[in-house]
Symmetry: C2
């Protein structure tokens, strides 16, 4: 198969991310569930808009590619709710790794290697680029919930500690946003959208 045919097969395969639905709701569209493709668009653009708050050295091009790619494994592995209990999360890393090999593996060898390693970097959350990307992936649902009277937090009885822990990547990669998020979490507790524990 030619490189081009492999690339086109990949491009058509990832169409399926539009059929992976998350717990988040789209307020602008009658609170239907959000799919992972439109979520990926939203965070890629949010990473650019909030880049003035990113720490020095964050490479926005790499972050953007990470965010556009990061959920593709859900085509095979499904989305798991951020605050699901541990049994729902068990086995997820293995499923996602197999998904990465199958789906990114549709690409020509060189692109497969590049893209898989970028995805692994995101998952490891060690580099400054990955930490900023993760932080943005996590701050957007927080903003959506705050804008939607608690949204999926209320629905699933999520607590303050859980949200703080989940947004902790901001602390190093974008400290000014971290301050803002801590304030918003306190306000959300006051409004009864988050459990105070």
């Amino acid at each position: 198969m030619s490189n081009l045919q492999q690339q086109l097969n990949f491009v058509l395969e990832i169409d399926r991310l539009k059929a992976v639905y998350r717990q988040a709701m789209v307020k602008s569209d009658n609170n239907r569930f959000e799919n992972s493709a439109e979520h990926s668009w939203h965070i890629a653009l949010t990473a650019q808009i909030l880049s003035p708050y990113a720490e020095d050295g964050v490479d926005l091009q790499r972050v953007t590619t990470m965010l556009l790619l990061h959920d593709i494994v859900e085509i095979d592995a499904g989305d798991t709710f951020a605050f699901a209990d541990q049994t729902a999360l068990d086995g997820q890393p293995e499923k996602e790794l197999a998904a990465a090999d199958r789906i990114f593996g549709l690409l020509p060898e060189q692109q497969f290697i590049e893209i898989k390693s970028l995805w692994l970097e995101f998952e490891a959350a060690q580099s400054i680029d990955a930490q900023y990307a993760k932080a943005i992936d996590r701050i957007l649902p927080l903003l959506q919930n705050i804008n939607n009277e608690g949204g999926s937090w209320v629905k699933h009885g999520v607590s303050k500690t859980q949200v703080i822990k989940r947004n902790q990547y901001l602390e190093k990669s974008a400290p000014k946003l971290w301050q803002f998020v801590l304030e918003q979490i306190e306000l959300s507790v006051e409004k009864g959208w988050l459990k105070p524990e």
Copy 2:
């Protein structure tokens, strides 16, 4: 209002792009209509995957930002079908310009200027970056239609000449893809998915 509050208002406002539906159908999700947010994700990633075919000098970071942004004006102006007749297209540029001023205008001044000028550059389709971005925006629906037995072409009785004209930006920005597209158009005529005129 602080810069951060303006940026967050913008981030939340663009959520509405998830409620703008296009003529294209999502084959992987029971052929429901595609929205412009998930479409923007798909083309931003496609631009990266097909970048080996882009002419020298194409700046992928700028292209990606253009593609993530280019449809946001549809929040106010709506989507018009690519092959709509002229009356449906009349007045669209003015509506989109007003939309750009309102929506991008939610951002702090400096970001507003940068993003509006990038959007204008995309619309003008004169720079090599804008031409590659436009080409990718147009090749993806073509691939989707070919993968879906003619899809929206068949539904709307679209002709070969219309599709060739619409994909012409490939000729300069990615000549190898242009050759491929011409072949696919011929095959689509043979299959009866495009009118031969």
